[in-house]
């Protein structure tokens, strides 16, 4: 129980990512079917996405989209915002000194406190990783399809046996 409270519960996101990752790795190593290997690869990838996104979580924070108002003009107020941004910077430094209690309420008109917004960087990285993952999965499925066309099977041992008999040119 002590172990659970000290090492598992505060770090539960890392435990979940390791378990998911090992499920994926085990599938990639031991499964005989190429499609099952790809499913393992997707689980592995999901584990990494979970890992990154869970790093960016901050207790008591909201999504990294700032509140703004549409009624303010565009070009005119840009300079005013730039000016007020400078004195925001001082205030955020000041706020960082009492970092310990991050539960304080959002002060609406004073600067942007980084503690009130989730870390945007992991979101950006995973946003592209998800779409690139889909396209690479598509390439992998295309390769599996052309392997099936050549060998008539997606089982690894059957493909290897056919390669030993005479290469991929063998008509099935």
């Amino acid at each position: 129980m002590e172990f659970l409270n000290a090492s598992v519960i505060p770090y539960f996101n890392y435990w979940i990512y390791v378990v998911l990752m090992m499920i994926g790795l085990h599938a990639m190593i031991t499964k005989n079917n190429l499609i099952k290997k790809l499913i393992g690869m997707s689980i592995f990838q999901t584990a990494i996405i979970l890992f990154y996104v869970s790093i960016g979580v901050k207790t008591g924070s909201t999504i990294p989209i700032l509140e703004h108002h549409h009624d303010e003009g565009h070009a005119e107020t840009a300079h005013a915002v730039a000016e007020s941004g400078d004195h925001h910077a001082e205030e955020t430094d000041h706020e960082k000194s009492d970092h310990g209690n991050n539960e304080h309420a959002i002060e609406a008109d004073h600067g942007i406190d980084p503690d009130h917004f989730a870390n945007p960087l992991p979101h950006v990285l995973m946003l592209t990783a998800i779409v690139v993952g889909v396209s690479t999965l598509g390439v992998a499925l295309a390769i599996s399809q052309s392997i099936y066309k050549d060998f008539g099977s997606l089982e690894e041992n059957e493909i290897l046996a056919k390669i030993k008999q005479g290469g991929p040119g063998v008509d099935v």
Partner: protein, 260 residues
């Protein structure tokens, strides 16, 4: 082999779990990734505090994606395009029409007719809404969750829905192979074009600020915001085209015909 795989997996798992106590606890705002180390703030803190004054884009994720990390996103888009080209190279076959091995079973019974009516009517109603929502997600990506990748995937999915509900040739009639290959390339060209435009105006690649000289009624800050919308549209083009290309090629073994 099975046992060796299990041992390797368990060993790797133990190795990773042994590193877990060194990580910051879940939701810790002072962890190195969130709060920086010592006196050095992390880059994400800069993004949160300064994005709005730098670019006037309230969605920090979009600003980081399309501006601060513009190179990264450009080449991610190139990766997606390359995946589409790779699938084309691996699967596409031009061997002409062959008698389908599994002819499409067209259900001519009354029940089949009813099913076709239900599916067809539902799709006719919801596909325009899906596509409109996709365009909203792309165009409103600055102000709400969204952007080129998400909107592109939704738009590509609407074409996949046409192919699923009717058949592949109906979807290809709306979005032919020539068009999706062209659209995929145009997306990359738009993105790279914004970068090259900055170079032409004697700034660094993808340094959008200088584009206020050629964009009407903007200042350097709004030029960054508008250029982000431009590159997001480019990303959306490529993602839409490649998502549909992947489906069309995989579902027809590269023949782009129904019934295989």
């Amino acid at each position: 082999m099975k046992w060796f795989g299990l041992i390797a997996t368990v060993f790797t798992g133990i190795l990773l779990l042994s590193a877990v106590p060194d990580f910051a606890a879940f939701g810790d705002p002072d962890s190195p990734a969130n709060g920086g180390l010592g006196d050095h703030p992390s880059v994400s803190q800069y993004y949160i505090t300064d994005t709005y004054t730098d670019t006037k884009v309230p969605n920090i994720v979009t600003a980081v994606l399309a501006d601060y990390r513009g190179y990264d996103t450009m080449f991610e888009t190139v990766v997606i395009f390359a995946a589409g080209i790779a699938i084309f190279a691996i699967l596409r076959s031009f061997s002409g029409p062959v008698a389908p091995s599994h002819p499409t079973a067209i259900d001519t019974s009354v029940e089949g007719d009813h099913q076709r009516i239900i599916i067809g009517t539902t799709c006719r109603v919801i596909i325009p809404v899906i596509q409109l929502f996709a365009l909203y997600v792309v165009a409103h990506g600055h102000h709400s969750p969204g952007g080129g990748f998400q909107g592109g995937v939704i738009l590509g999915a609407s074409f996949i829905l046409v192919a699923l509900a009717k058949d592949l040739s109906a979807a290809l009639g709306r979005f032919s192979e020539k068009r999706y290959l062209a659209l995929g390339s145009v997306g990359i060209l738009i993105y790279a074009g914004f970068g090259l435009l900055c170079v032409a105006l004697e700034r660094n690649f993808l340094d959008y600020e200088i584009l206020h000289r050629i964009m009407p009624a903007t200042d350097p800050i709004m030029a960054r915001s508008h250029s982000m919308l431009g590159v997001e549209v480019g990303v959306a083009f490529t993602v839409t085209a490649i998502m549909f290309a992947i489906y069309a090629n995989l579902s027809s073994k590269g023949r782009l015909e129904q019934g295989f």
